[in-house]
Amino acid sequence: MKAAAAGRFSSPLWRDRALAASAFSEMGALASAAAAKKGGRVNFMEVCGTHTMAIAASGMRRLFPRELRMLSGPGCPVCVTSQGDIDRVLALAGIPGVMITTFGDMLKVKGSKGLDLASARERGADVRVVYSPLDAVALAAAEPSREVVFIGVGFETTAPVIGAAVARAKKMGLKNFSSTAFFKLVPPALELLLSDPEHKIHGFLLPGHVSAIIGTGPYRFVAEKYRVPCVVTGFEPLDILAGINMLFKQVISGEPRVEDEYFRAVRAEGNPAAQKLMREVFSVSAATWRAIGPVKNTGLEFSKAYAAFDAVKRFKIKYAEAPEPEGCLCGTILLGKALPPDCPLFGKGCTPSNAVGPCMVSSEGACAAWFKYGG
C-alpha cells in the first residue's frame, strides 16, 4: 500500500510521465524532420482498433506534434464486417430454435433494416454474450436439442480461438454447433489500402496481437514493394509513442522496413501452433469488406474438413448486397481517408447508444473512441 500512501496508483513504467515527456520531446524533433522530408504533414495509420482506443483513452492526441496525423485503419473487427454479413447474422438469429452466441461487441451493430441482435433479443430471439467461443461449445454440449451458432468475426487474433472451438466441437462429435466464418486478414487489408495510388499513408503502426499470431514476415511486402515503414507496436501508451518515433526515424532515413517494438510478445515467426490450427480449420477465401465489397484472398472460410460447422451453409443463409447507411462515412474512415469528426452524422444523428455505423458501435471503433474520449 506504499503506492496508495503516495497517492499514485497506476503509473508503472509503461505509463510513466517523465518517460512519456521525453518521448514527446523526441517526437517533436523527429516530426519536423520527417515533415520536411515529405514536404508536409506526415500521416501514420494505427491499423488496429485496440490502438485507436488506447490512443484516445490516454489523451495523447492533444500532445502530438502538429506535423503528425494519426489515421484509424481497418483493424476493428465489427467495423469491417459488411452490412450484408450483419444481415446474415440477423437472419440466423431469426431461425426458430437457434441460440446465437456472440462477443458483446456484435450486439448493437445494425443490419440494413436498422435492426441489431439486441433488438432481435428484445423480440424473443435467444442471443447470449459469451467471452470465449469455447463457452458456446459448452452450451451446445449442455443443450443437445438446441442449435448453437457462434458469430465468428474478426482477424487473425480471433480466428485461431474460434478454430480451436470448432475443432473441439468436432472432437466431441457435436452435431448442434456451428459458427460463421466472417474472418478478414490483416496483411491483405494493408495491400488493399496501398494499392490505391492516391493513398497518403507514410507508415503503419501494426497490430501487436495479430502479429503475435502471424509474426512479422507477412508484412515485409509493405516495406519492400510499397516502401512504407512498419512498426509492430504494443498497446501501452509508451509502446505507442515509441512505435510512432520508430516510424518517424524510418521516414527520415528513407529506409522502410518492418520493425518490432512489441518484441516482448511478438516473435518473427509468430505462433506456429495457432497458424497450424488456422490452416487446418480454415482456408483463404474472398471476404466482403464494409464499404469496399468482396475482395479475393482477403479472408478465411471453413476448410473442406470443417465445412459441416459452417452456420451459413447449415442454415442456407443467402448473401445479399446491402447499401451502407445513408450519410455514414465508416468505410471512408476505415480507409484512412477521413477522421470521425469529418462525418456529418458524428455526434448528431450517430452516437454510441443510437449508432448509425459500426465505427460508432464497436468499443474498438474510431468514431466511438473520438466520441467517448474527445479524440
Binding site: 500500500m1 496508495a4 497517492g7 499514485r8 496508483f9 497506476s10 503509473s11 505509463r15 510513466d16 510521465r17 512519456a20 515527456a21 514527446f24 485496440t50 482506443m53 484516445a56 483513452a57 490516454s58 489523451g59 495523447m60 492526441r61 492533444r62 500532445l63 473487427p77 465489427v78 462477443f103 458483446g104 461487441d105 456484435m106 450486439l107 448493437k108 439486441a118 428484445e122 454474450v129 459469451v130 467471452y131 463457452d135 468475426v153 474478426g154 482477424f155 487474433t157 480471433t158 496481437h209 501508451p237 509508451l238 509513442l241 452516437t351 454510441p352 447508444s353 464497436s362 468499443s363 474498438e364 466520441f371 467517448k372 474520449y373 474527445g374
Partner: protein, 336 residues
Amino acid sequence: MAAINKVVLGHGSGGRLSRELVESVFLKSFSNPSLLPLEDSAEVKIPGATLAFTTDSYVVTPVEFPGADIGRVAVCGTVNDLAVKGARPLALSAAFILEEGFPGGLLERITASMRRAADEAGVSIVTGDTKVVERGKADGIFINTSGIGLIPRGRSLSSAAVRAGDVIIVSGSLADHGVAVMNARDRLGLEGGIKSDAAPLNGLIEAALKVPGTRAMRDITRGGLATVLNEVSGACGLTAEVDEEAVPVSAATRSACALLGLDPLYVANEGKIVIFAAPGAAAGILRALRSHRYGKNASVAGRMLKEKKPQVRMLTSIGGSRIMLMLEGEQLPRIC
C-alpha cells in the same frame, strides 16, 4: 425529450439511458420538489426534522459472489443512499419477489447476510413483504429495500452546493464489485482474488463528516465514478477534473478490466463514495477516511473548476487529457 418506444436493457444501466427513462417517463408523472434533485435519497421535511427516504431494487446474477451476495448489497445500497445525504439510518424495509423453486437454504443464507449487514450499519429491518411467482416469471430472487434516515439539524449536502476549487475525494479502490460479479456470473476464471466491496458506509461517512467542509457526497454505484461526476457536474455547473494516477484501482481489477475492454471508471461499486469538499478540509477528511476500515485507500482524485463549458475531464498519466462522458448503456465486452 423523446418518448421511450420500448424499454431496453440499457435503460437499467444507471447511465445516460437510465436518466432519459427517468426524465421522459417517471418525472412526467411524479415530478415534485423532493424528487426533483434526483439524488441518492429524497429529503422529506416534517415538523422539527428532515428525513431522508430512499428505495432500491436488487436483481444480481449470481445471487452469491466473492465478497458479498444479493442480500448484503440490498442492505448496504440503501444504507449508503441514506448516509451520503448525511442521514443516520433509522429503519429499513425488505420486500422479496421469489421464483417458485428457489432453494430455502440459499434464502436463509441471504437473509442471514442481510441481518449481518444491518447489524453492522446499526439499523433494523422493521417491515417486509413476500411474493412468490411461477417458475420462469422471475430470476430466482429479487429484493427491494427502502430506508428512512434522520438528517441532523444544520447538515445539508447536495450536488448543487459544490463550488469551484472543491476537491474530489474517492474513498477507495474502484470497480471491484462489478468485476467480481461479472467474473462469477460468466465464470471468467479471472484470478487475483477480486471481491465485491459491498459494505455499509454510514460509519465511514459519519467519521468524514466530523471534519467540516464537505459539500456533497455520492455513492459510486452503477455507471461508476465517471457517471456520478457527470451528474454532479450537471447539477453544480462546474467542470470535474480527475487525475488518472490518483484514482485508486487495484492491480488485479485493472488488468481484469484491460482484458475485458472495460473502463474501471464506468464499473459499479457497492462500497465506495465520492466526496466534494472545500480544499482546506481535504487533509482532515482524508485522514478520517483512511483511519476507517472501508476508507484505507482513500485518495484526493481531482478538483472542481469553473469553466465556460463544464465537462468531466481526466488528466492522463502520460500528461494528456480526455473527456469522460456518462455511461451510455451497458458496457459490452469486446472481441479482441
